[in-house]
Symmetry: C2
Subunit: 334 residues, 2 copies
């Protein structure tokens, strides 16, 4: 069974391309309140689960010991654009633990955002590891290791104590068994584990509600998500979807993207969380999907809902600025 | 009915993303020799049909009058990467017609290829219209107009005589009725028309075999495709799929990509042509699809087939150079 078409891309009056996918919204008990497609399908969360991966930074006491506030915690959960403010803060976090950039094991890449990439290229050579979109997460990893006296060397590896701890946290949150069978290597070299989409959503619902979590985990999870909502620029960057979604209803929407068309989001006031994956991995579709799903839960607030629907259904223009078509969420979200 | 999954993207041992699509291979009479998915579905050819759009340049006598050789004709059919050699030749073509860069109406953009974009950004401001991936096609348009005494102003418009001529050529080649109902505006502002995938393939089969074409059209079509095969760098650029596909069997494969996951190709020796579209518009999938389809027709030549299969099934590596997965054509091509 193919998943439903969730996003269409039009040109003139014709649908030019179609994106299929799966979406699930659950409450803290795991009760499904909205779904489309095969919600039990195993999905690599990729960067969407960074707030889960940042829990050791909180639970170890490292974040408190190093004096981290909202910005540092948001950056620890981020896939940032490699703007200077992101890299500077990542360096400060690593220095707080007495280390430097060389401790990072994430690798280096040019920014994925064209305007930032152009800025980078116009000023010098390829940026270093601090500019990797995952450098904030890795800074958090290094801080967690240093605070607990764990050797940072090889901290990205499957068998490193930190990754084993994260694996246990994610098993507990998602209700899945994670191991070599469903493990892949992520862009930044850490393990990523394919688990059912519904379990990923349920993990975030537990984090935002605290349902079923020990007090320290509940408190840590809420603190991380609050930090992201308080400092959304540090979670992504200028003109990025995660940042714009969280700015659409400040303090009331948590949202985080992952590579290959994944998105998670949470609505703390409503005690709900969601996860979605575009089958083909397209970011443009995942962004439309998450905005369309979130919009369903702001029906009584036309202003917020309007902002979200404007992200779900957006115009495409060509090199001369002429409107050529739209990216639009389908009736599956109606 | 959903189209079949034609390309899978793996991570570790798990399929992370899936691309559906449609493929058709036909001979000069339009007889289908291979197919997958809904081959009657209307598809915007986008840039895949540039060799069709270059026919007025040939048939008007402009190409001969301006002394154009293989490189100029290949560039007229190209979606180039905006490397300096492409822009310099586009300028020379426009100058041959007594015009300059300001006559172009394609708009400007940074190169789509990251290494070229980085090179561009490290040397100066945003490049001009000569660096637009369509500048060679537009240079051909300008030359065709100038040679026939047609006003170039508004040459990108639906009602301009050149676009009306191209519409007629494409109707004749694809066997479709083209008009406002199935028209969209392309990235470079010219009209693009959605027509059944099989018709697009048949148009290229007519071009490569001459079946059913008047002598001038048959000669012009063959000349354009031969020029592309002779100078494949001018059709795309360094490390580009069209260029590599044509280099895999020099003079024996014509291949041209189009935006939103389209590809066409022709095998002049075998009298066949093909068209394909990835439903979701992904370039990585369209490139795998065309290589896998072409490989079917080189079964007796392991070396050529091996080159094509290496393009159909390629490794993905992360920022540290670790292999993380593959892009691979599915059993639909077996």
């Amino acid at each position: 069974m193919a998943n439903p078409v969730l996003v269409e891309v039009t040109r003139g009056d014709v649908v030019e391309s179609r994106h299929r996918g799966m979406v699930v919204v659950v409450d803290g008990d795991g009760k499904v309140v909205f779904e489309a497609g095969d919600i039990e399908h195993p999905v690599f969360p990729r960067s969407s689960c960074k707030a889960m991966q940042a829990l050791p930074l909180m639970e170890s006491g490292a974040a408190e010991a190093y004096g981290f506030g909202n910005k540092e915690l948001a950056l620890a959960c981020s896939s940032h654009s490699g703007e200077d403010g992101h890299a500077v803060l990542a360096r400060a976090m690593i220095r707080a633990a007495g280390r430097d950039e060389d401790t990072l094991e994430c690798g280096a890449h040019w920014s994925f955002q064209q305007p930032i990439l152009i800025e980078q290229a116009s000023h010098g050579p390829k940026p270093g590891q601090l500019y990797n979109n995952c450098s904030g997460k890795h800074a958090g990893f290094i801080c967690a290791c240093c605070h607990t006296g764990t050797d940072t060397k090889g901290y990205v590896g499957y068998d490193h104590p930190l990754q084993a701890e994260i694996r246990g946290i994610m098993e507990s949150l998602t209700g899945s068994i994670l191991g070599h069978d469903n493990c892949g290597v992520d862009g930044c070299s850490i393990p990523t584990y394919a688990s059912p989409l519904k379990g990923l959503a349920h993990g975030f619902a537990k984090m935002t509600t605290g349902v079923g979590l020990e007090p320290i985990r509940s408190k840590s999870a809420k603190r991380l998500m609050q930090a992201c909502m308080a400092e959304p620029w540090y979670v992504a960057g200028t003109n990025r979807a995660c940042t714009a979604l969280m700015q659409a209803a400040p303090g009331r929407i948590f949202a985080k993207t992952g590579a290959e068309g994944v998105f998670v989001a949470a609505l703390p006031e409503q005690g709900l969380a969601m996860a979605m994956k575009c089958d083909d991995g397209a970011t443009r579709a995942a962004e439309s999907m998450v905005a369309a799903t979130l919009a369903r839960f702001f029906k009584g607030e036309p202003e917020v809902q309007g902002r979200l629907l404007a992200m779900a259904n957006s115009e495409m223009r060509n090199w001369n600025g002429i409107k050529v078509g739209d990216v639009r969420a389908t009736a599956a979200f109606a």
